[in-house]
Subunit: 221 residues, 2 copies
DNA sequence: CAAAACTTTACGGGAAACCGTAAGGTTTTG
DNA sequence: CAAAACCTTACGGTTTCCCGTAAAGTTTTG
């Protein structure tokens, strides 16, 4: 079984809960961190040692506070860590069950597990730890569809950005100007209208307000 | 100190974390529930006994799943319990830090404590337990402003409803018609425009889309 | 009870969003 | 390499939103 585990979540209570599972698995050495940067530091420091952390369990969302942070989300930290230490096993433990995010972390960045916080969260986490130890990947049952390849009728980044700018109060004309500034194409007012029209249909929205509300509820922006 | 505590949160890991605090306070008897209805049942059952639960710590948001529930949120359950057992001490332990909600539960329904989940959550929870045991009320420091009386320049229900309808995709004209249907006044298109204008200024929004996005982020709708 | 203050409604003009059509580019494909 | 398919842009017309002003109605106040 894993020898040394790091658990990172901004909520102390969640760390406690996860640590109780770790303990029940007879893993001797476990630590916790409440900031991504702390977690990063702890991992980097021990990678040079004889017994580095061999499993990292992390939340994705970390509430900002007074402490300035280099990494402000679990996602960023995972990307950085996987680049530097591809062999470090990482399990995400998050309430965020959006398939996009799951797919991104699992497929693009080779994260080893993704467990949804939920009523069964701790049980699933235990299963995940066992699976990942056997070099398998693990995702919570409700996230399985995320990894099935057929499910790729995706919203593009462009669309997300577009809606995000809308939600920030920019008019379609301002968005067009903004895209022209950044040399991003398409950028004509007409294209933006067209894109929004497609999105409205896709999300069954009556108008732009409705669209933004729906997409916000889905957590896409 | 309290003799018998019930902890309720849909996330098992959070319950574990809270229970670890309870234990450290030498409270012998503690139980947990993952559904509001379960919590309710446990409390009701022991209220007739010699040693009923004398403290109830609960989350507010409970994710719905297959199990049909009478109470679907901590708020509803608290209201019901406080009506039936006014002397039962209740502490809210939630990520939700919206002042409106705090004020509602503390002032209107005599909840005894309100602790924000956060990095310091468990420490604050411990303080809350001590305070509540001494018949004081406790709210997390960042929520203090919620209870100061001056802070009552509230958004009216009308405004909330208005923005909600907007976010549901209704045009201003449709909203006017809708209000006329329900005999709610004011209901003219002009009044609705005026109201929205005021809200846009108040929330520093560029347009209606922006307004809806801001208000959604604040969690008011 | 009448003046003042406020709220609600009406209306008109300009801006932005919405919608269809069509022209000009680019990529795909036989 | 040319036809087809697709994407991007342009443009005009209609609807909705945004904003100011003013009239009508309601409440407050001396």
């Amino acid at each position: 079984m894993f020898k040394k585990v790091l658990v990172s979540d901004d909520l102390g209570c969640t760390n406690e809960g996860v640590l109780s599972v770790i303990k029940s698995l007879k893993i001797k050495h476990a630590e916790q961190a409440q900031y991504c940067d702390d977690a990063c530091l702890k991992i980097k420091r021990t990678q040079l040692d004889l017994d580095p952390f061999d499993l990292f369990i992390t939340d994705l969302s970390f509430v900002k506070d007074h402490r300035e942070q280099k990494y402000t989300s679990g996602k960023e930290l995972i990307i950085a860590l996987k680049k530097e230490y591809p062999h470090l096993k990482i399990i995400v433990y998050s309430v965020d069950d959006r398939l996009q995010k799951v797919r991104f972390l699992m497929n693009v960045h080779q994260t080893n597990g993704y467990v949804c916080k939920g009523r069964q969260g701790l049980v699933e986490l235990e299963n995940a730890i066992h699976a990942v130890y056997k070099n398998e990947i693990y995702v919570s049952p409700q996230l399985k569809p995320a990894l099935s390849p057929k499910n790729d009728l995706e919203i593009e980044d462009f669309d997300i950005l577009l809606i995000k700018l809308l939600s920030n109060g920019l008019s379609q004309e301002e968005i067009s100007a903004h895209f022209k500034n950044e040399n991003r194409s398409p950028n004509s007012l007409s294209s933006i209208e067209k894109r929004l029209n497609k999105l409205r249909i896709q999300f069954k929205a009556n108008n732009a307000i409705h669209l933004v509300a729906i997409v916000k509820d889905l957590g896409l922006i």
